[in-house]
């Protein structure tokens, strides 16, 4: 085990006294202020709060997209602050699955190719990649749409493809930023069902940012952020 892999194995995410500032010209904007958070493995956490409260910033820190100004962020035993940009990218490809509000599928790739995309960074053969991607699509119920392009799918179907893409590498943590924000009620319910399935049946740790109380109600734990501080 390396020096950075120091966290408790049962803790998936550990955020310790994290501060995050953005510099705008001469002004320093405080986004997170000494924040602490522990997410055990297999937990489904919903982060709520008003716009500008720092939810997405915290999610980005956990996902290794952004870096804290101070404090430590440990995910799956790795302290992210010690990794270089290249190491961080590699770490993300193995440990984090992303679910975006607007799906962010690659429009020129069909559903199967979109799901296969993260696997291109793995040493798997083409056949293995295809098999895994197909399995993921089957789990999200879109095996029959594997050759369809994002433009040929509904919003709910696109989000399901995005979820398949997020889980295809079997990541430690799934991070979801407003996953139902762009969906109608029915589709949103389906997506939340799916996320619950991955949490319960596959033991995936999920950190979800949402404004939607019904989405948050599906999580085990709800935490509220306001002005960069967890209020509950």
């Amino acid at each position: 085990m390396s020096a950075t892999e120091v966290a408790n194995k049962t803790t998936a995410v550990s955020v310790q006294n994290v501060r995050k500032f953005y510099q705008r010209d001469t002004m320093q904007i405080k986004v997170l202020d000494g924040l602490n958070l522990e997410v055990p493995q297999g937990e489904f956490l919903a982060l709520m709060g008003p716009s500008g409260s720092g939810k997405t910033t915290l999610l980005n820190l956990i996902a290794g997209i952004d870096r804290a100004t101070s404090g430590r962020v440990l995910v799956a035993g790795t302290e992210l602050g010690t990794l270089s940009e290249g190491q961080l990218a590699k770490w993300r490809s193995r440990n984090v699955g992303f679910i975006f509000q607007f799906y962010n599928l690659i429009p020129v790739l069909n559903a199967l190719e979109n799901v296969e995309l993260p696997l291109l960074l793995s040493p798997l053969s083409k056949r293995e990649r295809r098999e895994r991607a197909m399995t993921a699509l089957r789990i999200v119920g879109l095996a029959d749409r594997s050759k369809h392009y994002p433009g040929q799918l509904s919003g709910g179907q696109e989000q399901r493809v995005a979820i398949a893409r997020a889980v295809v590498t079997d990541p430690t943590v799934l991070v979801a930023d407003e996953p139902t924000g762009d969906l109608d009620h029915q589709s949103a319910e389906e997506i939340l069902d799916l996320m619950q399935t991955f949490n319960k049946e596959f033991g995936k740790t999920i950190v979800m940012v949402t404004h939607d109380p019904r989405a948050a109600a599906r999580a085990h734990v709800q935490r509220h952020l306001d002005k960069g501080v967890l209020t509950n």
């Binding site: 996902a63 990218a89 993260p118 960074l121």
Partner: protein, 384 residues
């Protein structure tokens, strides 16, 4: 290789944009290569003039003739070894300009002495010297029209003094070749006939269009030129004498500074196309920013994303460059057969896509590709 489908899919999906970008690049490369080839050929042709040959013509313009009496006076000037009249006849084959080929009235014996690059078998030479209506044709011209020695054909000039109410009848007395290594500038698509025939058929109205002189030493060219022009300085018809190289240059310069003109037009068009391409690319860039951000978020290293974007842009450049070069090659191949233009460009032995021009074209295409990649500025795009 596993990323190749990702690149190709992007190129294929927006096929209309890909096609228009490739075509825009191809037109740029086509223009650059074609114009540069012509300019190179012109410059090469200019340097091929024989330093021992001078050309005397009317001081004002090639349109006006010199009196025939000038020939003997010029021949008498010290240093002048031989002279031949060379008159542009402007004869149209089958009465149509689209069949035009260069045809000149010359003095056969002197002409062959002054132009050793025109190579004829001795029996054909003698036949031409003694045949008033005889002519010699270049090998390429003979092959084009399937002419053999002894064949007849007619030409009708478009130049008013040479229009005599009926076509001139010619007999092919010889088919000339050349040593392309020793004399690379020799035009094998031309026809030469006896000046006497022209002189007599026009009722002795034909003057001297140009008089080509063979001089004793190229070093004396300046002195002899000055002496000739000084001889006629106070006469009604003044002369202009210059080296064959300078004559060729001035002949080409009749259309202005050809190189500047060609390059100017080419660069202006190429620049305009580039601006249009830049506009198209800026739209594409906006579309792709999100996608590049997603790839980085998913864990694609910045270097890999950069490489994918670069390869895609370079592929576009390469396709545009290859198409441009093919078009340029086709145009340059076809140029000698284009009426009028063909007659001019056939004079340039260096006409052809040289490896240097090809490398220019491909280099320019790859630079365009790099520029497209730079437009996307993917290194600045952060994960979403």
């Amino acid at each position: 290789m596993k990323f190749a489908p990702l690149i190709l899919k992007h190129l294929r999906k927006n096929w209309l944009r890909t096609l228009s970008t490739v075509l825009a690049m191809a037109v740029c490369i086509f223009l650059i290569c074609t114009l540069q080839t012509v300019v190179d050929a012109v410059n090469y042709g200019l340097h091929l003039g024989n330093a021992s040959r001078l050309v005397t013509r009317h001081y004002v313009s090639l349109v006006f003739n010199l009196p025939n009496s000038y020939k003997n006076k010029i021949a008498a000037i010290p240093g002048v070894q031989n002279t031949t009249i060379v008159n542009w006849f402007g004869g149209m084959y089958r009465g149509d300009m689209k069949y035009f080929f260069p045809n000149m009235a010359v003095e056969p014996e002197a002409f062959l002495q002054i132009y050793p690059e025109i190579m004829l078998p001795e029996d054909q030479k003698q036949a031409w010297f003694h045949d008033g209506r005889g002519c010699i044709v270049g090998r390429k011209l003979a092959e084009k029209w399937s002419w053999k020695v002894g064949d007849h054909f007619q030409l009708e000039s478009f130049i008013p003094p040479y229009r005599v109410g009926k076509p001139f009848d010619f007999i092919v007395d010889g088919i000339y070749d050349t040593d392309t290594v020793k004399y690379p500038g020799t035009d094998l698509s031309a026809m030469y006939f006896n000046y006497k025939y022209l002189y007599e058929a026009t009722g002795q109205r034909a003057g001297i269009g140009t008089l080509t002189l063979l001089i004793d030493d190229p070093k004396n060219a300046g002195r002899i030129s000055k002496a000739i022009d000084a001889e006629f300085e106070n006469s009604d018809v003044q002369t202009k004498t210059e080296t064959e190289q300078a004559f060729r240059a001035s002949f080409i310069a009749m259309a202005g500074n050809l190189a500047l003109l060609l390059n100017g037009i080419g660069l202006a068009v190429a620049f305009t196309i580039l601006l249009v391409t830049a506009n198209t690319m800026s739209i594409a860039v906006r579309e792709r920013q999100q996608e590049i951000g997603v790839l980085k978020t998913l864990g694609f290293p910045s270097g890999l994303v950069m490489a994918l974007v670069l390869i895609e842009a370079l592929l576009l450049g390469l396709m545009g460059g290859a198409l441009g070069l093919i078009l340029a090659g086709g145009a340059i191949h076809a140029l000698p057969n284009v009426p009028f233009i063909g007659d001019v460009v056939r004079q340039f032995p260096g006409l052809g896509l040289s490896p240097r021009i090809v490398s220019y074209g491909l280099g320019a295409a790859l630079l365009l590709g790099l520029w497209l990649a730079w437009c996307r500025r993917c290194w600045r795009i952060a994960p979403v």
